[in-house]
């Protein structure tokens, strides 16, 4: 038995000093292999007296187990170390920028339009569309624009002939919807509109509007105020306040201009709101009875509200853009910021 103890001691020393798997494999062969030292010891057992054999057998098995344990512990230590070394070797500079996919960018005007569309779809509105090449009838007459209203001038409106023009507002869509649909009507009309303005930082002959129209029984100005407040909060943030001022539009009566509290300074005054705390953002009002009547809806039964806003103006305010021309120059360095 002394033989076994010596062998185990030697084996333990050698295993613990092994530093790689190759050495471990060699030692396995040396001790546990067919011609290994343990086998030799077991073979020597045949020379023992039969009564000594069980004890010797147990000692041999214990030694084998002990050896296995030593080998597996050593293997774990060596492999853990190898993994650790590999991980260390493979280390990276994580501050190097990532490899990005080119993702396209939605035009800021489309972003504003989509945001507004989504707000109103959630409130039960549908999106109505109409032609950009319009008739004088729908663009002006049906909307109660006075015959001598300056907006009808060639100075303000692009004409193809006496009857055909490029719409100056999205309101003709409202007229078309009212003519073709019975109340209840809840729509928003986004789209391109045209006015004969020379191009500069705040004017463009082409721009976008979004208008909303609700016609039903018992629609009140209180409904309009509530809708505007909800819209402003969704669009500009929960703390946004809304202020209405009386104004004039031919197709609404009463009419209002609507200011919202500045989303940058929350009404305290800053360069974005020109230190006024509020920013004028849209026009609104109760649909003029003449407009309802023109479109075949009885103003004695139904009432409605409408409001509209300039998409460019809103986008300029929201994104802090100071020159309207940027929207139509399509510089990739501009577009990819949004």
């Amino acid at each position: 038995m002394l033989q076994l103890d010596v062998m185990l001691k030697n084996a333990e020393r050698e295993i613990l000093s092994a530093t790689d798997m190759k050495k471990i494999e060699e030692l396995k062969v040396q001790y546990l292999g067919k011609k290994g030292e343990l086998t030799q010891v077991l073979r020597g057992m045949s020379a023992l007296a039969p009564e000594d054999r069980p004890a010797a057998g147990k000692a041999a098995n214990d030694a084998r187990e002990k050896l296995n344990q030593l080998f597996s512990d050593a293997e774990k230590i060596i492999s853990d170390k190898a993994v650790k070394e590999r991980l260390y070797e493979e280390r990276l500079d994580v501050t190097v920028p990532g490899r990005k996919q080119d993702i396209g960018h939605t035009h800021p005007l489309t972003q504003v339009i989509r945001k507004i569309e989504n707000i109103f779809i959630g409130l039960g509105y549908q999106i109505a569309e109409g032609p950009e090449v319009e008739s004088v009838h729908y663009n002006f007459d049906q909307l109660n624009a006075p015959d001598n209203h300056p907006s009808r001038d060639e100075q303000d409106t692009f004409y193809f002939d006496a009857e055909k023009l490029l719409r100056t507002q999205t309101s003709p869509v409202q007229a078309r919807v009212m003519e073709n649909n019975a109340p209840p009507i809840r729509i928003i009309c986004p789209g391109r509109v045209y006015r004969a303005d020379e191009v500069d930082a705040t004017h463009s002959p082409i721009f976008h509007q979004i208008e909303a129209l609700v016609v039903d029984k018992d629609i009140t100005m209180g409904n309009l105020v509530a809708t505007l407040k909800l819209f402003a909060k969704e669009m500009f943030g929960e703390e946004t306040e809304v202020r209405l001022r009386p104004h004039y539009f031919p197709f609404t009566e009463p009419s209002a201009e609507v200011d919202v509290s500045c989303w940058v300074c929350k009404g305290k005054g800053c360069p974005v709101c020109k230190y006024e705390g509020f920013i004028e953002i849209l026009g609104a009002g109760m649909v003029h009875p003449n407009v309802l009547r023109n479109c075949g809806i009885d103003p004695d039964i139904y009432s409605g509200f409408a409001f509209g806003l300039g998409v460019e103006r809103t986008a300029m305010a929201v994104f802090g853009i100071n020159d309207l021309r940027l929207f139509y120059e399509n510089d990739a360095r501009f577009l990819s910021q949004f």
């Binding site: 080119d102 993702i103 396209g104 960018h105 035009h107 489309t110 109103f120 779809i121 039960g124 509105y125 549908q126 999106i127 032609p131 950009e132 090449v133 001598n148 300056p150 001038d153 060639e154 100075q155 692009f158 004409y159 193809f160 055909k164 490029l166 109340p183 809840r186 002959p205 039903d216 029984k217 018992d218 629609i219 009140t220 100005m221 209180g222 409904n223 105020v225 509530a226 809708t227 407040k229 909800l230 202020r243 001022r245 009386p246 104004h247 004039y248 009566e253 009463p254 209002a256 109760m286 003029h288 009875p289 009432s303 929207f327 139509y328 399509n330 510089d331 990739a332 360095r333 577009l335």
Partner: protein, 790 residues
């Protein structure tokens, strides 16, 4: 509209703080754009009397004065040449401020104490227009009876606050002090003070002894009132009048002209004054001008007229452009003795058109354009006469020659309080409604409202509701989100969803969305090199474009996109990836045929197949699987060898390819410009968003690669089609993974390498089976395309 507070106070008591006043006006609908005090920068300048004058011991041209400023006597050193003992003059005292940031402090001038400075009109930001008697290059000598120690701002009306209002086009009545005062009366809840006109009429005879008035152009002039002033003495008008005019933005001229301007501002009725001496035949006729009739207007310009313009003429000649401007031949001069005042009513549309045609918009025409109240004309002329008497400018002759047709009559509207509250969503008592309406100049007759003719904008219940709501306060209306009694569903229509999916797909493809103008120059079509009879040349032309560049509605998106590519490449943007979903416009029987088009533009590090991949992504995102691409060598816009038409159900729905080199050069776009255009409307019908799960295969696939050599003009699509037809059932997919032309193969040929995926649904395929299929494929290809294995 600029309104001095002092002037408004003639009609309503305003004692609110200016900020509160402005806010009340704004929230009730008369928006304040700003306000300022003419003399805001001036402080500490008071009136003082020169008691003594003595020579300065150390200077030849300086004098030392003792000046009584009321509560004390100050010693002032001055160099002014016009000072005399006894004069009352403005003194800037110690620590006073003057315009342009000047501060005056006491100090020593050449050893002598000076406790302030004497001021000229210029130093107080005034001009000879304001004070014609003031000295040009010396101290401003004030009136003899001026109290001492008085703030000069009070003396000169520089303490008046001038408020600028934004007036909406429906409120022509508010382009006047009285109109704004009426609004203020309702906003401040104070009475409106309308003073009756008192006239002495000391002139000889009656007005119609002096002038006969006729209106020939009755369609263009509905009323003409003429008043006569005799024994006129032309002189500057008094300080208070000049100061009010100045504060309202009008330059003072002389008493008669100032009176006409004063009445225009106060009453909102344009007036004109003629020197009666130059009115020949004692006749005024309002008529249309003759074609090519000439007139020299007060701005000293000759105007050539035509029959559309209305003129005021005497027996022989035109003496004014009706409602726009007077003529030189009858203007008020320093020698004018008899004046004819005109207060008339012209057709608003005609004035607007004439003023524009003649390129001369005046204060007067700007007002007439808005459509005034003919009933106001008589009041205005009487007010002018009253001012003549107040200013002692002449003797008013009895009566006004007043020629008119029908005058507007007040409208009667039922006050339906219930309906008004219903519309507003309020509960306003009827008495409150009446109180507001009365302050605005309306009369109440039982349940009716009688609307004065200066408020033609009020025609129905909704208009009354607005008046009530304005003064109730829009912001006091209680919000309620319960819209009516019905529920509606909000959604995007199928077509709107298709467009959204297309947009989102193109964004996912890494493209930036652009927005381009809908109108272009027709020259762009020449630059594209398209034929004269191309349907693209059938476009809508704008009658009044901003210029040739914006003169026709685009019939193709390609020039718009090429310009985007050119714009970016010229700004050194190395790579362009753009798209737009927008419209082209084509003539149609009714309005126009507006077609939605997808346009994609690429340049820099890209090729035909990048573009085609995008086209394929679009159709796949819409669930459309059977799109075909057919080479088009005839399209003049595109590279003849790199252009394909996109076919859906045998219909060309789009085109894609590299832009022809000469075309891209014409547009200054890069050589490697790739453009895709695809019509949206055919996609609407075919797009489907239903999606059914395909089980993931349970058995493995077998892959085989094959490279063949064929003639260069053999189309890969045909090969794939043929292969799919030849081997059915187990051929799952065919993919082209390489195309090669060049040295290693015969000229005029190309090598195509395909990868074939075979799979059966119910078993693992045997090699033998796959080999058999590959043999069949090769045989078919060699038969049909003369293909050889490479």
């Amino acid at each position: 509209m600029k309104a001095p507070i002092s002037w408004l106070r003639d009609f309503v008591d305003i004692d609110e703080d200016i900020k509160r006043f402005c806010n009340l006006m704004t929230v009730t609908g008369t928006k304040v754009e700003g306000y300022n005090q003419a003399g805001a920068e001036i402080s500490g300048v008071v009136t003082g009397k020169i008691l003594t004058l003595r020579a300065h011991p150390n200077s030849d041209h300086l004098l030392i004065a003792d000046v009584d400023v009321g509560d004390k006597v100050l010693q002032i050193v001055t160099g002014a040449p016009n000072v005399k003992i006894g004069q009352i003059i403005p003194i800037a005292t110690d620590n006073s401020t003057l315009p342009k940031g000047v501060t005056i402090k006491k100090g020593k001038l050449r050893g002598e104490l000076s406790e302030g400075m004497m001021c000229s009109i210029q130093e107080l930001n005034l001009t000879k227009h304001d004070y014609p008697d003031a000295c040009d290059d010396g101290i401003w000598v004030l009136k003899e009876d001026t109290p001492l120690g008085m703030d000069i701002k009070k003396y000169a009306g520089l303490d008046d606050c001038v408020v600028e209002f934004e007036i909406t086009p429906n409120r022509q009545d508010c382009f006047s002090i009285k109109g704004i005062a009426r609004e203020a009366s309702a906003a401040l809840d104070k009475p409106f003070k309308d003073k009756p006109i008192m006239l002495q009429e000391k002139g000889k005879g009656k007005a119609d002894d002096y002038i006969k008035v006729g209106i020939t152009a009755t369609d263009l002039c509905s009323r003409y009132c003429a008043g006569i002033i005799t024994d006129v003495i032309i002189e500057p008008s008094p300080d208070w009048m000049r100061s009010r005019l100045r504060n309202a933005g009008v330059r003072p001229v002389n008493n008669i002209v100032d009176i006409t301007n004063y009445v225009l501002l106060e009453c909102g009725q344009p007036m004109h004054a003629f020197d009666l001496e130059f009115i020949e035949g004692n006749t005024i006729n309002v008529r249309r001008a003759a074609d090519n009739e000439k007139i020299i207007t007060l701005d000293e310009k000759e105007r050539i007229l035509d029959r559309s313009v209305v003129v005021i003429s005497d027996a022989k000649k035109a003496v004014a452009l009706g409602g726009i401007m007077g003529a030189m031949n009858s203007e008020i001069t320093d020698n004018t003795k008899t004046v004819l005042f005109e207060s008339a009513m012209f057709d608003s549309a005609n004035i607007r058109i004439s003023a524009k045609k003649l390129g001369m918009r005046s204060e007067s025409s700007a007002l007439f354009e808005k459509g005034l109240d003919a009933n106001n004309a008589l009041h205005a002329i009487n007010r002018a006469c009253e001012l003549v008497e107040l200013l002692n400018a002449g003797k008013v002759v009895k009566g006004v020659v007043d020629v008119h047709k029908h005058l507007p009559v007040p409208v009667r509207i039922k006050l339906d309080a219930k309906r008004i509250n219903q519309l507003l969503g309020t509960d306003i008592p009827v008495a409150d409604m009446k109180s507001v309406l009365v302050k605005l100049g309306m009369r109440i007759d039982k349940d009716d409202i009688i609307v004065p003719t200066f408020r033609p904008d009020i025609t129905g219940c909704a208009d009354i509701a607005e008046e009530v709501a304005r003064f109730y306060g829009y912001n006091n209306i209680v919000p309620s989100l319960a819209l009516g009694k019905s529920v509606t569903q909000g959604y995007r229509t199928h077509n709107q969803n298709v467009r959204k999916v297309i947009h989102d797909t193109l964004i996912a493809c890494g493209l930036n969305e652009t927005m381009t103008y809908s109108f272009i120059s027709p020259k762009n079509l020449d630059k594209l090199g398209i034929s004269e009879d191309s349907p693209m040349r059938d476009y809508l032309t704008i009658k009044n474009p901003l210029g040739e560049d914006f003169s026709v509605m685009r019939t193709t998106m390609i020039p718009s996109m090429l310009k985007v590519l050119a714009y970016n490449t010229n700004r050194s943007v190395k790579q362009g990836r753009f798209f737009e979903v927008s419209k082209t416009y084509h003539p149609a029987e009714i309005l126009a045929d507006e077609r939605e088009v997808i346009t994609v533009g690429l340049y820099g590090d890209c090729d035909f197949y990048d573009l085609k991949g995008i086209a394929e992504n679009i159709s796949e995102s819409l669930g459309i699987k059977d799109v075909e691409y057919v080479a088009d060598r005839e399209n003049p816009v595109f590279h003849t060898g790199r252009c394909a038409n996109i076919l859906l159900d045998n219909l060309v729905i789009g085109t894609l390819g590299q832009i022809d080199y000469s075309v891209s050069e014409e547009f200054d776009a890069p050589e490697d410009s790739y453009i895709l255009t695809m019509d949206v409307s055919p996609l609407y019908e075919r797009a489907t968003f239903t999606n059914t799960y395909m089980p993931i295969p349970r058995y493995p696939s077998s892959l085989r690669d094959l490279s063949i050599v064929v003639d260069r003009d053999v189309q890969s699509a045909d090969i794939v089609k043929t292969v799919k037809k030849a081997v059915k059932g187990i051929l799952e997919n065919v993919t082209l993974f390489d195309i090669y032309t060049g040295g290693q193969i015969e000229e005029g040929s190309k090598s195509l390498s395909y990868s074939f995926t075979f799979r059966a649904k119910d078993r693992t395929l045997e090699d033998q089976e796959v080999n058999k299929a590959m043999d069949k494929i090769m045989n078919t290809l060699s038969r049909e395309f003369d293909a050889k294995v490479r």
